[in-house]
Symmetry: C3
């Protein structure tokens, strides 16, 4: 009797206190708290009753109630906040990686010639839009809807919980994960966009983007991040040196091969005609946007922020990511100074980006000296392989293949140096399998497009510029 009135009084006081704290706009949190209190009370009482029934003494019963309540408090609060933190990580990481779409756009519009700038802007808006649509329609479930150890997920649109109904069973909201992962797919398509610039047909490129973002990327993504066969094998690629950057690079390489070099780039006698980009400040802005976005790319790939250890690991990733990029930029700067006696800023831009790509496969385990080493080699790769591509007459307009494919391979291969749980052989298997699949599948798609709608504009249109030919809007009409 007294016990009941005590409970009642406690309940009333608790309710009053909750009302003191809560506000109309936070109606849901009131319900959550009051439901929680009832639950705690019930759990305590039932644990205490159970103990008494088992013949426990009064203090033992109280202690049992105590234990049960403490345990549930620990779980409920720890868990609730952890889920909010995890989801918030995906949202912040997601808008940072989404922002990389602007980074690629600025980088590419800065590095193409004036007559093709509008086209490059248009392609990037379109590919980001298509990536979102395709990754919702089929990509996300192809990537994450499969069975452990498998090769491909399921073909169905993504489904997000109803408003107010998401209990975040996965430890984070599904839609936040979708958003974060979607932005990665778009990055992959952007890589292709830069390499095949200045001569690709708009609709052919967009058709390729549909397949890449809806199918090719999600399939190899499934192998690793979807828990497929490579994940079971022990392949390791923290944030996507291979899964994102090399995949984009392989697709770009296939495109560059099938589409051919820009008219006049390579003359018969082996001369290479420089075709400098139209705006260095925009290219630089693009690099800084990408650098900023990379904190979301690598940092949020920790996938959890609900413990001190997780958020500290994210901090370590931020530091390593930043320093690898710095090392890539500085290395490229020193090398071009030594080799060419001038500091080509586009090499430094690509050096920084290669540093970022290199550290992406493992931004957590390296100590700073290793992060610097990994990034520096990335920067060196750019300086030495960009001229090499020209020797091979592979006309990669923005340097996407050295930055994303070659530095991506380097970053993935070097993971075992700092991560004991990985092996060089497995890394090589993963790189090869994903590379072979993406290159062959991309080649098939480019080939089909070539023999059907055509992937390259006419010579007249190429000379005229794609802005006039395909977009109908000049980028700088008064200049």
């Amino acid at each position: 009797m007294t016990k009941f009135s005590n409970k009642l009084m406690t309940g009333i006081i608790a309710l009053f206190a909750i009302l003191m704290f809560a506000t109309p706009s936070l109606a849901q949190s009131v319900d959550v708290n009051s439901a929680l209190n009832s639950t705690l009370e019930a759990i305590g009482t039932s644990a205490s009753d159970a103990a008494l029934e088992d013949g426990a003494s009064a203090e033992e019963a109280a202690s049992a109630a105590n234990d049960a309540i403490s345990s549930i408090v620990a779980e409920v609060f720890g868990d609730r906040d952890a889920k909010i933190f995890n989801t918030l990580l995906f949202l912040i990481g997601g808008f940072l990686v989404m922002w990389m779409a602007a980074g690629f756009t600025m980088l590419e519009t800065g590095l193409v010639r004036k007559k093709n700038v509008s086209m490059q802007a248009l392609k990037n808006i379109a590919l980001y839009s298509i990536a979102g649509l395709m990754f919702w329609l089929v990509g996300y479930n192809v990537m994450y809807g499969g069975e452990a150890g498998g090769f491909i997920g399921s073909f169905s649109p993504s489904n997000f919980p109803e408003p107010g109904a998401d209990t975040a069973e996965a430890g984070y909201s599904v839609a936040s994960d979708w958003f974060f992962q979607m932005a990665f797919v778009a990055a992959t398509a952007s890589i292709v966009s830069g390499a095949v610039a200045e001569r690709v047909r708009l609709w052919a490129f967009l058709a390729f983007t549909v397949v890449l973002t809806g199918l090719l990327y999600p399939i190899t993504g499934m192998w690793q991040w979807g828990g497929g066969w490579l994940a079971e094998l022990g392949f390791s690629d923290f944030a996507g040196s291979t899964l994102v950057h090399s995949v984009g690079g392989w697709a770009a390489l296939a495109g560059v091969i099938f589409i051919g070099a820009r008219k006049g780039k390579y003359s018969a006698n082996g001369m290479v005609t420089p075709m400098p980009g139209s705006s260095i400040p925009l290219a630089t802005l693009g690099m800084f946007i990408l650098w900023m976005g990379w904190f979301g790319f690598n940092g949020a790939s920790q996938l959890a922020m609900g413990t001190i250890a997780d958020v500290a690991d994210i901090s370590r990733i931020f530091a390593n990511t930043n320093l690898a990029a710095a090392a890539g930029a500085i290395t490229a700067m020193i090398l071009v100074q030594l080799i060419y006696k001038k500091v080509d800023v586009t090499m430094v831009i690509n050096g920084a980006l290669a540093g970022l790509v290199s550290i992406t496969a493992e931004p957590l385990t390296p100590s700073v000296p290793f992060a610097l080493f990994i990034g520096a080699i990335g920067g060196a790769i750019v300086v030495f392989t960009i001229p090499l591509l020209d020797k091979l007459k592979l006309d990669d307009v923005v340097g996407a293949i050295p930055v994303h494919l070659l530095a991506g391979i380097w970053g993935t291969m070097i993971v075992p140096l700092t991560n004991d749980g990985t092996s060089y052989v497995t890394q090589l298997i993963g790189i090869s399998a994903i590379g072979a699949f993406t290159f062959i599948a991309s080649s098939i798609v480019w080939l089909i497009l070539k023999v059907t709608i055509g992937i390259r504009v006419s010579e007249e249109d190429e000379a005229l510029g794609l802005d006039k030919a395909e977009v109908g809007v000049e980028a700088y009409p008064e200049f």
Copy 2:
């Protein structure tokens, strides 16, 4: 009696502990914890004592202590973290929406002609600054300082709690809400800035901005978000398709009518002279900035992030917002290809923005297919109405009226399709009331400015360009 004094004591101690909580530096977190522990102990002891005095058994007393402690732990922790999360949401959302000021600036400087670019940059810096000042001086309290069901709030500057003293009674810090809402006001003024570009007088535009951000926007804002008569009627506008975008659009329409078309835009024989923008990459950058900022615009309009349900809803809003924009861009792209055989990138830019505006009235309840549908119609509106405005000789330089006014109306009208708690009639009432008020009030302000200081530069200044005439600084002096 004793019981009552016990409760009183508990309350006082709790209050003390909470005040201890509000300390400015991390160094005191030890103190906070220890104060909290004392409080918990006191609460437990007093609950236990009260129970014993009421003749409770030992285990009942222990249980009472247990309940009291659990309840206070739940409140203090649940509540504390929820308030931090809510405020953090406003801060992150706020800097993302603030960033949209840069987006509008880039969009507009890219879409005006070279000779008016500095002016467009200046206007946007100035309007963002004025919006902040006016929304502090009077706007925030006109909007949120009124009575439920009312028409206008109070005229007084905003007041933020002293350092260390904010106990976030509202569930979030007042200053964080002010910051977030202030950035919305600036967006409204930016919409006007784009429409009346290339011929408006600087100080006339700024005078209009003062009235718009201090009075017009806050009044109609009060009707809905301030809890006024439209809110009571059941009008629904989640993040401002009507309250922000249409309001900006109506004010822009009034401006465009009173100021007239640019010299030479429309010839007597019905010809329309294209006046293409000076920089497509900057316009594209502006669109990406706006797209990014929109995650703050729509996402943080959830207004709470302290529960799993809230953060999951924000995630759903992110996904819907992104996909509506994508659908708007893709729809515009396909339509211009079909109609004009070339893909005018400015139409795609505006298509994406119209998709964003359309989903803003209700980014939470639509499932993805509905979000795509809502955004796609937004994109189509842009393609079909931009030429229409030219037929009406309404010279809207950047397409602000189709994007913000028409897509804003569309987005608001379609809310009942996915939100059962709304009605088409009420939506129509809200759109009409806000539209009528804003259009009439804006017209009066433009008219007063026209007959007093003048709203349009001289013909010579218009021909010379506003950069030389009003700013004295050319945007690209060496080009």
Copy 3:
């Protein structure tokens, strides 16, 4: 016996509940929670046992267990979440301040002439990279590794805890603090970059940057933020009006003096030749990026977000920071209109930035009217001192000295107006000491560089432009 089985049962239930909530991807949180539960149980039991051994009654023992558990719950949760929030604050603040590197780059590439734009972009990429490297190698420990009241810290690279091992003893992750502080150092170097533009030699500038970011900035930083002698004296500089902006300004002033004015800027008869910047939209974008980044700069300098009071203070800082910038912009705008009859947008840009610099020394304590006043005077300083510098033939290309040095001094001197705990004398001592050290040390470094590798390009190279002379890449080759 029964007690033991009760414990066992509770343990099993707790474990089951944890497994229900946790997922494989959150493996660490499982360990944390389960470790926590065991701990709570052990603590409760031992407290209860101890009480019984001391002859306590059953209810006293239960109460002791209760107290002990509640206390640990409070600490673990309060503390855990506070540490996550604090670290998150540094990460978000860090990427916002990192983003300011792009802001300085856009501002500076927009304000230099076309022929020096690539160089300006390159310098900014390089200085941000070098700042990161040097602040890791030595700067962070020079700044934070010293003794209270001291003059210099220790010379050693930064060391971040191993993955998964950071228990955030400091209340935040070390790497997150490093990242945040590193971005501040880069801002200091950017200030110098703008002032000495268009004639400095690349490698000389980079050598200066090495010393500034590795040694000069960290030493004066140690005096205050590292807990050195100025901190003990009571000097107050919340986010770095003096420690960051004036330090950059003093180093820039020394550079401007030693390097001399650009050829043709000042003629013998006292005429000043205007050399307008190449792109106003990029300069405007730079200002908006800086404005956005400043929310991280000032807001995250609160250094903690784990209590309601802290996050509310951050909100207040956001509002004050925004309004001071607005006041600076509006004041500059009105003044240039009155003085020059035209509104030079570069003055408004610098007015906004000066408002930001001014409020940085104390963005928390001022009420809004004071924040507006502080920012407005900052804006006025810019308008009146930029012409003054030209009279002194100090050729500061972007206005860095008025904005960062003079407004920085103003902001620091005015702190006692709103912060009772400070004194004008101590502020003056701090400003003077840091100014004297930085100016003298910078002068020595510039002088050494001048007599060794040379700090100024040849007259031919200056006339040709640094892009062709040092970078080998024109910024706008087709314009």
